[in-house]
């Protein structure tokens, strides 16, 4: 332990602690724009680039960045001397001098770290006038880059390169022209971007935001000729409350349903229903592969990888296209929902496909891209018309004069609003595989599970493994969240070193709860943990917790699909993958 003095107070810290953390121990919040530490998720970004966190260290010639400077015994630090305050404000003024002044119309207004900082520092004018960086905005199907607003914190780069190992975003050019961009300044659509949205999730300004579909949604809701149907992903209910000042981890399922109904949706359904359906298909596929494998079939592809996460699907299509026969062919819950909604349910309510609009509310930005995939459309009419993020939903609720917090709790509509606890846990890392295990176990062993909770599959470790006893057969399960972790597992498989039978992969930290479309965590990992807790809490409170016991799923198979993996199910609920490495990304 070493003792240091900060602002005339003494604190004892462990060797290797930075000034930033030592100060935090004393309740001193040193401001920063680039530093980010998502503790348990093993993401620490400390480039020491923004220089807002500078402090005065006695005996040191220049100011020290608190986020990157380690404490030493006897260190004397001043965090708000005149020299520090002046330098900090000047640095902020410099950043602002190269930033568009369009706060009033910026997508990030109100949740912008830079704006908060300007308020906190009391910036009233910018003494420096000069050239501003201007870039062509980049509109992709999911993410919009407006690099005029980039402050070069490079958090997006850390997420894209270190955490996701996608390697699309990196610093290019030098000096004043330096900016974060895909190689050769291509747009995202011509890069290997997976649209995971983690860059958006950590961007402190409006430089990286999701594509906005709310205007389209308002137009569709106003169209009386259209039946507008909404599905909401499991992770949304665990985070939406944050946008209305509720504690992170507050479950707002009922209020969310009420809000959606008030917004004017004709049917408020649940993606969890489709998650249960996914388990039926994916679980059956897993059982099928396992049975064949145990029967001695050498051709069978194991481990089977989950395929619910569109960022992950993009990832292996770009980076591991030769392994695209390994993931389950099951579509994601969002797409299964769309597919069933525009066939089975459309028939039920006697509505033509083209008169039905299926909207999804997702914690995700990659889902926006997934909707646009050609294979998920019939004659150009997409199964899911578009997807809005949790953030967009919150904005829409506010805009529509709905006092969210005083809404009553309401239930989803039937039939596609009925779901089990297994569907809910899709929202957290390990949840899909746990849901699959719950059903696969019972379907395989024909026995009732004694304990529904598979604690060994839960947690926040980047790569986790567990084994489940299937009545004498040991099933080895791997779980990864974050594409960098996924890459490790894939490389093991490629090298023939993988022992797993099934692997769940989610692109985002913590799974969908940490998705790129969620209310911003502003670098606080506790928020993601709280959401995770809420997900398992929702599961625990559900009367039915196994997908195959969902009565409406059972009914769906009886009335429409026949059985899992049937020809009809194949047609509507399964898909195939593409080798995108070959896609000519050089075309501009």
């Amino acid at each position: 332990m070493i003792k240091i003095n900060i602002d005339n107070r003494t604190v004892e810290v462990e060797k290797g602690t930075t000034i930033f953390h030592a100060a935090k121990k004393l309740g001193i919040e040193i401001p920063t724009l680039c530093y980010m530490n998502l503790g348990d998720l093993n993401i620490e970004h400390k480039p020491g680039g923004c220089r807002v966190c500078v402090v005065e260290v006695e005996g040191r010639r220049n100011l020290a960045p608190a986020c990157a400077t380690d404490c030493y015994e006897g260190m004397v630090v001043k965090t708000h001397s005149m020299r520090v305050l002046n330098a900090r404000k000047t640095v902020l003024e410099l950043i602002l001098s190269d930033h568009p002044f369009d706060c009033l119309v910026c997508a990030k207004s109100g949740t912008c770290d830079l704006q908060d900082m300007a308020i906190k520092m009391g910036v009233r004018s910018i003494p420096f006038q000069g050239e501003k960086s201007t870039y062509k905005p980049d509109f992709s199907p999911a993410i919009i880059r407006e690099m005029d607003k980039c402050i070069m914190c490079r958090r997006c780069e850390t997420m894209c390169n270190d955490f996701q190992t996608v390697g699309v975003l990196s610093g290019i050019h030098r000096g004043f022209e330096a900016v974060v961009a895909p190689a050769f300044e291509r747009d995202l659509d011509h890069s290997e971007c997976t649209y995971c949205g983690q860059c958006v999730a950590v961007c402190p300004t409006g430089a990286l935001v999701e594509v906005d579909h709310t205007t389209q949604l308002i137009r569709d809701l106003a169209d009386t000729n259209k039946k507008v149907i909404v599905q909401t992903a499991p992770a949304v209910r665990a985070a939406l409350g944050e946008a209305f000042g509720l504690e992170p981890g507050t479950l707002v399922t009922g209020k969310m349903v009420a809000a959606l109904r008030r917004l004017g949706f004709d049917y408020v359904f649940d993606t969890d229903f489709a998650a249960d359906l996914t388990i039926m298909e994916e679980g059956t596929e897993l059982l099928d592969r396992l049975t064949r494998f145990l029967g001695g079939d050498k051709e069978v592809k194991l481990p089977m990888l989950t395929s619910c996460c569109p960022g992950w699907v993009n990832f292996f299509e770009y980076h591991f296209p030769d392994m695209r026969d390994i993931p389950s062919t099951a579509r994601s819950p969002q797409q299964m929902f769309g597919s069933i909604a525009k066939t089975y349910f459309a028939d039920k309510i006697e509505t033509k496909r083209e008169d039905m609009i299926v909207v999804s509310v997702m914690p995700c930005v990659a889902k926006k891209y997934e909707c646009t995939r050609d294979e998920f459309a019939v004659d150009g009419n997409p199964d899911v018309d578009y997807s809005i993020s949790t953030r967009e939903l919150a904005m829409l609720i506010k805009r529509s004069n709905i006092d969210f917090n005083s809404l009553p709790e309401e239930d989803f509509d039937k039939p596609m609003g009925e779901s089990t606890g297994a569907g809910v846990i899709f929202g957290a890392t390990g949840g899909v595989i746990e849901a699959a295990v719950r059903s696969a176990y019972e379907l395989h062993t024909k026995k009732q599970l004694e304990k529904i909770d598979f604690e060994q599959l839960r947690g926040l470790g980047g790569i986790r493994s567990a084994s489940v006893d299937f009545d004498g057969v040991e099933i080895k399960i791997g779980i990864a969240h974050g594409l960098g972790n996924a890459r490790k597992l894939l490389e093991d498989i490629k090298a023939g070193k993988s022992e797993y039978h099934a692997i769940e992969i989610m692109a985002c930290p913590g799974g969908c709860i940490g998705g790129g479309g969620q209310p911003l965590h502003h670098g606080n990992p506790e928020i993601i943990k709280a959401r995770q807790k809420a997900i398992y809490q929702e599961d625990a409170g559900k009367p039915i917790r196994k997908s195959h016991e969902n009565p409406y799923i059972i009914k769906l198979y009886e009335e429409f699909l026949g059985e899992p993996m049937s020809e009809k199910a194949h047609h509507l609920l399964h898909t195939h993958y593409f080798d995108k490495k070959k896609k000519d990304i050089l075309i501009d």
Binding site: G49, N62, D70, L94, I95, R174, F176
Partner: protein
Amino acid sequence: MAKFKMHMLVCGGTGCRASASDMLYENLVKEVKENGLEDEVQVVTTGCFGFCEKGPIVKVIPDNTFYVSVEPGDAKDIIAEHAIKGRRVQRLLYVDPTNKEQIADSKGMGFYKKQIRIALRNCGMIDPENIEEYLAADGYEALGKVLTEMTPDEAIQEMIDSGLRGRGGGGFPTGVKWKLAAKEKADQKYVVCNADEGDPGAFMDRSILEGDPHTVLEAMVINGYCIGASKGLVYIRAEYPLAIYRLKIAIEQAREYGLLGNDILGTGFSFDVEIRYGAGAFVCGEETALIHSMEGERGEPTFKPPFPAQSGYLGKPTNVNNVETFANIPVIYNKGAKWFASIGTEKSTGTKVFALAGKINNVGLIEVPMGITLREVIFEVGGGIKDGKKFKAVQTGGPSGGCLTEKHLDTPIDFDNLLAVGSMMGSGGMIVMDEDDCMVAVAKFYLDFTVEESCGKCSPCRIGNKRLYELLDKITKGQADKEDMDNLRNLSYVIRDTSLCGLGQTSPNPVLSTMDNFLDEYMAHIEEGRCPSGVCKDLIRYEVIPENCVGCTACARNCPVNCIAGERKQLHIIDQALCIKCGACLEKCKFNAIAII
């Protein structure tokens, strides 16, 4: 053809010429003729002797007599006495200022030679593409000595004792740096030669690599032995093709002779060198940025610690030294730390190579002992200011340095003194400015460079330098007010105080030092809208002086925008609205009829 018995070398350097050496030459030739000595005595003019203070200079060969402060009228005596009677003209001999003794033979005048060549010892002496010439000049003997007679610790101690400090700019003691890397335990360590010379106008490292590549290789092997590294990398900018070519040849030859590779000189020690190319980013001269660049990452500095000695190339302990630093090393082992430490000053031992540039007569590469004054460098070695103009400032340390003035000329040059007066040693660029240079424009020039070369990682350097540049631009356009001066100063301090690496921490130096030393020039721009040096285009105009104009039309014919009107033999007039202030008219006018106002 006659065989001359005597040669008279008359200094034709600009400094001496300014004190009538050309007339002296003519008089000498006249005297030779008048005395009928055309077949015996030859008078020739030479380049600068580097002793301009005592010019004009005449050197007589073969007896090496050295005459100083020779006036045209002295020609008679020199011929009559020296050429005819063979007696030296005593009154023209140099008097040693310390013991008041006359020195006749220039061979005994070691002290007038301000330069000592250690790092450059072989440049211009040997064929850089032939290892045999290097070997004949004691090449690789230091390596042999270190490998066979010294332990790594002893060799490092020798380096520490020599007092050698890094020549790349920082001035960190080389031996101490080696000790840090030697201390680390690792399966692999690296020696890196920083040949990413980037200061504007600096070419010391390039010249060494082009002229004596083996010295760098030899030093790298020694370095490897001392710190326990078996691999060396030379990080060199790709725009130095000749240096790369010769370095490659040198590496091949050294391998062939067993001086690189396995079991060097039968000692069991193995070391090899590879070349890595830099794309020419200035910031890659910073060692962490350099390492990232070698790793294939974006060339950006990272926070230290960890220092490269702990975690450098590929995360392994790495020692980075600059080319010139390495070039000193074999000599230190050959001649001993004590010998090296006897040259220079107490805290800055040895010599420093400078690339002299700007408004100076002898633009070129010089190597001077530490402790020499700026005055000696500029007015003697450098031959003084071009065209007899007045000295105004000297910029040392490249874009990170400051502009020093008349009052600093007698400062002995070493690492600490230069820092103390607001500049720095830097890698050795030295740019001299005269009365025609506007110091605001000079500061702007350096900021332009920094803005280009900042990596863009940290905000103060990325945006701050741009804003500094814009403020300076505003001043040079006469659009700034006093508040801008306050902003300029505050911004300079903040950039210096908050930037991540040395580039940003020093980039305001040209601004601060010019503000400190030439505040009146700044104020003239701001308060009077006037550029005292007549440089800032927006603040000057070219006018025809009616009484001098003869109507020769030379200005009008040479004006690129045809903005000068006037008939032949009539007064010409410049249309100020169209004038682009290129200065062509001023240059072409033979009658002093164009003036900058």
